[in-house]
Every structure is written in C-alpha cells, then in structure tokens.
C-alpha cells in the first residue's frame, strides 16, 4: 500500500494533480483564517471563547472548519454552493423546465450548473448579510460583541464598513466555489466534497482534545477514539457493499458485426443516497433554532424550541432527526435512480434481467429491489448518524465533539477520492491502493 503511494508520486501526471490539489487546499485554509476587513480580530477571539458551547452554530461552524466564527473572508465556505446545489436538484421535481434541461444531456447539465452558480452568489449575499448583521447586534456570539459595547466585533460601525465586509465575504464565497471547481477540473476527487472534508477534518483534532482535557480524562478520550475507529470501519464496509442485479445483453447483428451477448450487472449500493439525507436533515433541523434566535427570548414558543431543538441530546430532536433521514433517504434515491428510465434504456439496447420480461415488469422489479435495499440503507444511515450522539450522552460528555454526519462525510469523501487516485494509478500499474 505504501508502495502504491510512492508510485502515485512517481507518476508525473498524477503527481502534478496531487500537488495542485494540495496547493488549493493550502489557499483555502489560509483564507479561512484571514479576517474580513472591518472585523476586529482580537475581539472576535474573546467572543468565540466566551460562547464556545453554542450548539446552534456548532454544525454550520463545523462545515466551515471554524472559519465562520472567525468571521474570516471564507466564513461562508462551501455551504452556499451546497445549498444552491440542493435547491436546484430539488427544483427539478417542481419545475418542468429544469427536468427537461437535465434530460438534455451535457449541454442541459451545463446550464443547470450555471443556474447553481448564480444561485450560490445570491445565497452568499444573503448569508453574508445575515452573519454580519447578527454579529453587529451581538446575536451571533450570544450577546457578546455588539456594536457600541465594550468589545465590538465590528470595529467601526458605519454603513461603508458593513457593506464592504458583506461584499468581501460574497467575493470570498465565489472564490471558494471557483477553487472547488478547479480541484474537480485539474486535481483529484470532487472539489466541493473535498473542501467540506478538509473543513471537518481540520476541526477534528481540536474537538477530540477538548474531550481529553475537559471531561472524563484519558479513559474517556480513549473510548471516544475507539468508538470513532469502529464506526469508520462499519461505514467503510457498508459503503462498499452493493446488490448486483444481473443483466444479460442479447446478441445482435448490425451489418456483418456481432454486438452484445455479454452479461453484466447493475450495481445497487445499499446506501445509494450517500450522506446527502443526513446533510438535508440536519440543515432543516437547524431552521427552528435559527428562527428562535430572532424571537423574543422569553416567549413560550422560543422556550419550547430551545428546550427541544437546541440540544442534539433531547429525545424529541433525535426522533425528528431519524424520521427526516428516513424520508430523505427514500426521496433522494427516487430522484437519482429512476427505474423506468433504466428499464427503458436496457430495453433499447437489448438487455434484460434473466427471468423477467423487458419493459414495465423490469421497471417494477427494479423498484421492488431498490425499495428493499434502501430500507436497509436508510436504517443504517439513521444508526450511524445517531450512535455517536447517543454514546456521548451515555458517557456524560456534554458538548459533542463530532456527530455521525461528519464521520459519514469524511469516510464517503475519503473513499471516493482514493478510488479516483486508484483508477488513475491503474492506467500505468496494476496494483492500486485499495485491494
């Protein structure tokens, strides 16, 4: 395995791609620490340490690798791009024009991507404005750092400064989007997911360190690390497993040549939707708490939301989370894999599943198999997403260092990237990193 790594660096083509990717990652990390003009860096640090255990911003902050609470130029990170992709993807169900574009193939997809990019900038303006204004009024840091107070986060409270900060953050988000695209285009792996991966991985050691220091001491720390390793092993195992539906292609003559006659299979992964249901569910669950931030803190509904949704350990939160994941797992699988389309394509090229007639019966068979496989997959997703939270509650650790979401993302992206490096390696050698 180590030899494969060495080989990856000895191949000039691959070495260039790897170095390029690393360079982009370095730029991304530097930008995550560069404070936005107008923001007082020292005061931000004071406020961050004062409100470290704010659960609401925990997840957003996790996705941005700690950049959000630093109010850096890349504070929004890759999140607007992800949100925009999700929205465009979901709008395909609602707007017929989008579905038509998607079916058009390469050109249509390019147009959809372009829509996603415009939407990203729009969302970036919106979110940057929200963050800057909440930081100015002190809501962002839980009542710390308001303008005109003793330690103002925004040093000079004029309209020009605030507009400048918003503009800079928007441009920063655009730059992150471009960096992600550059990685996809010239580096290894998918840029967008790789940048989330980097952000989450960057905050991992610090989170583990707080566990070791603050609560329980060394034994708890060891237990947490063991749990994480075990979960990673399980996730790798399940992500790699798939159900293979055999497909036989009929032989046919076109002119003097014979086509087909091969037998292949349709691979159906147990967890076809990947980590997306978990991301959807957690971003939706974030909404009520965000709403509550703007309400009157003593009102009944605000109190109710804070009691049930602000802490991941409350049973109400856990059940809603589980139900949302189950729903989105099925929903997303049905969006990405259309049995009718697959059956139609198979029929057109003379393929059939042995024992089942081509056309509609095949589509129904595929739908039956997918529903059953997804049932298992969605339950697995719920378990992986909830086990860390439950375990931390049982261990009595109050602030949760990492959730199942981050583990799933890390393993999923890691596997995908290694697979891509592997396939590039195999163009020259036969042995890759994965056996």
């Amino acid at each position: 395995m180590l030899r494969a790594f060495a080989q990856a660096f000895r191949t000039p083509d691959l070495r260039r791609k790897l170095l390029f990717t690393m360079g982009i990652i370095v730029i991304f990390r530097i930008g995550s620490f560069l404070p936005t003009p107008g923001v007082n860096y020292a005061n931000v640090q004071t406020c961050v340490s004062a409100s470290a255990d704010n659960d609401v911003l925990g997840l957003i902050n996790l996705f941005s690798g700690g950049a959000l609470l630093q109010l850096s130029v890349f504070a929004l990170g890759i999140m607007p791009y992800i949100t925009a992709s999700i929205i465009v993807q979901l709008l395909r169900v609602v707007i017929p024009h989008f579905e038509a574009l998607h079916k058009e193939g390469q050109a249509g997809t390019a147009k959809l991507t372009q829509y996603t990019r415009y939407l990203t900038i729009f969302l970036a303006i919106l979110q940057a404005t929200t963050i800057i204004t909440t930081a100015r009024t002190g809501v962002l840091f839980g009542g710390c750092g308001e303008a005109g107070g003793t330690i103002p986060v925004i040093s000079d409270d004029s309209a020009v400064t605030i507009l400048l900060a918003i503009l800079t953050m928007t441009a920063g988000t655009g730059l992150v989007m471009w960096l992600a695209e550059l990685i996809t285009e010239r580096g290894v792996g998918n840029g967008m997911s790789l940048l989330i991966f980097i952000s989450i991985a960057a905050s991992f050691p610090a989170a583990l360190w707080t566990v070791a220091n603050a609560q329980g001491g060394f034994m708890t720390f060891l237990l947490v690390v063991l749990l994480a390793l075990l979960l990673i092993a399980v996730v790798v195992f399940v992500e790699q497993s798939q159900r293979r539906i055999p497909v036989q292609y009929a032989k046919r003559m076109v002119g003097r040549r014979v086509y087909g006659g091969t037998s292949t299979y349709i691979p159906i992964k147990i967890n076809m939707a990947g980590v997306i249901p978990v991301i959807f569910a957690s971003s939706i669950l974030m909404l009520p708490t965000l709403l509550a931030q703007f309400g009157d803190q003593n009102a009944g509904w605000v109190q109710w939301i804070l009691r049930h949704f602000a802490t991941p350990a409350s049973p109400f939160y856990l059940i809603t989370f589980a139900l949302l994941i189950l729903f989105f797992a099925f929903f997303y699988t049905s969006i990405t894999f259309n049995p009718d389309e697959v059956a139609d394509n198979m029929k057109r090229y003379g393929g059939f599943v042995p024992g089942i007639r081509a056309g509609r019966p095949t589509a129904e068979y595929l739908r039956y198999v997918i529903n059953r496989v997804t049932s298992a997959g969605s339950i697995y997703l719920v378990l992986v997403a909830l086990i860390p939270t439950l375990a931390f509650v049982l261990l009595g650790i109050s602030n949760i260092p990492f959730g199942g979401t981050s583990l799933l993302i890390i393993v999923g992206v890691g596997l995908e990237t290694v697979k891509q490096i592997d396939s590039q390696l195999q163009q020259r050698h036969y042995e890759g990193i994965l056996k």
Partner: protein, 81 residues
C-alpha cells in the same frame, strides 16, 4: 494613512465585484450534487480554450489583488489604532 486605507477599500470593492463577475463567467465544472458524494467516475476533460485560459489569468490576477488588499487593510487596522 487614511488616504491609503480609503484607496485600499476602493480597490477591494472593485476587485470583489470583478472577481464575482469573472468567476460567474467561467464554465461551471462542478457537476452539481449528483457526483458530489459517491457519483460515478466523471471523465474530466481539462482542455480549455484560449478564452477560458485568458479568463483564468484575469481571475487569478484579480484574486491576488483582492487578497493583498485584505491583508494590507488588516495590517493597517492592527497597527494604526
């Protein structure tokens, strides 16, 4: 010092707008959500035309200028007060 700061702020505003516009002018290669987590192997064609290459140069130049302006503004903020 004030003149320098205002000058840098103007540069920052201009480069921010240009940066967003040039980035939006690129052809998106993101691929969207479908191949974000565990999609198929997407064959990436890195061949880009002359227009795209020039656009890349402009974007990189603007980004460097943008970053420098931010760093300088940060330094002024830190040492001027």
């Amino acid at each position: 010092m004030d003149a320098l700061r205002i000058g840098l702020q103007v540069i920052l505003v201009l480069t921010s707008i240009v940066l967003v516009l040039t980035i939006l002018m690129h052809k998106g290669k993101g691929g969207g959500m479908s191949d974000m987590f565990g999609g198929g192997l997407s064959s990436s064609m890195s061949s880009s035309g002359v227009a795209e290459r020039n656009l890349n140069r402009i974007t990189i130049g603007t980004a460097v200028l943008w970053g420098t302006a931010i760093v300088l503004l940060g330094l002024i903020e830190k040492f001027a007060v």
